[in-house]
Symmetry: C3
Subunit: 134 residues, 3 copies
């Protein structure tokens, strides 16, 4: 199953928990794993407590690790100034696995699935969800 999301780029962080949960529910799988992935080398998927403070904190840390304004070799070579986005994606990775128990995603009370678009422009992204029964 796939769904699309519109992002603003520049480490736009989007809560996709509901979309994934719906796919899990419709699958009728009670016990297994759910893999969430997005093709691309400038995005990432992880889990966070999705609230505005934490979103700022994560952005700030990623800015420290791989600053947006830094002189990347990727930019020099391709004239494309999203080198930071590629590095962030390699570190976070554009996939996530979540367990399924009792027909539901095993997530904490304060834990959401977050899609991170690091690219330096707004984009439409495709997210793929694969469910494996155990």
């Amino acid at each position: 199953m796939q769904f699309k999301i519109s992002t603003k780029g520049f480490t736009d962080i989007i809560d996709i928990t509901e979309r994934v949960s719906e796919i899990v529910k419709n699958s009728k799988v009670k016990d297994g794993i759910c893999l969430i992935s997005s093709p691309g080398s400038t995005c990432g998927i992880t889990t966070i407590e999705y609230e505005s403070g934490m979103i700022k904190d994560l952005k700030r840390t990623l800015e420290k690790i791989a600053p947006m304004n830094k002189d990347y070799e990727h930019c020099k070579k391709w004239g494309d100034c999203n080198g930071y986005a590629h590095v962030r994606s390699a570190l976070i990775k554009p996939f996530l696995a979540v367990l399924i128990e009792g027909g539901r995603l095993v997530l904490g009370q304060w834990q959401q699935i977050a899609f991170l678009d690091f690219d330096n422009r707004s984009r439409e992204r495709e997210v793929s969800v694969k469910i494996i029964s155990s």
Copy 2:
């Protein structure tokens, strides 16, 4: 399958290899994948050479990436000073996949499965293990 572990928090790093191995052994699955996960947004699971030097090195690196004493927006907003823990968890992620071959986890000789509790207090954590036969 689930098991519980008691942690001291503050990036307590606990070797859970034996617990996971036992579940794999009892499953009788010879060939497949093992997903290890813990619900929550302040913990992580990865593999390390589990020895005291490496544990200190990893803690020091995480302290550099997301310092415990830093002024996080999450803390300002919720009066909860574990902003660093949320950021570390988003980067490390609270899940891990390990392959199963010949009925055993495919791990290196010096490679253990480590549970990291980043939270700023001692906690009892639940770890879920899901085995998928291939």
Copy 3:
């Protein structure tokens, strides 16, 4: 399925997309997930746009996060100066999941599967690929 690769160490970054794709193709699995893993605590697997600029950028960022010349406790204890390699591996993790749709890996146009050997010497590494049909 396994295959071997020779690396130069020191964060040698190797494109293994073709090797993995061939295994997926031969499996005849049309829909599922592909887990790629390597036993060891000094390597990592992720996806990147595999081009020389990006490779330099990723190396530089990893050098900032966990410098090669830093005084690691792991080194002091074991007389083995690859402490940085262990830390990098704990952060990147030596496994990756990629979805399979229509018998092919779901990857972006500019996205390759990269094996990273952080160790401080050349090595022969074994990469395991496990395919689960959904």
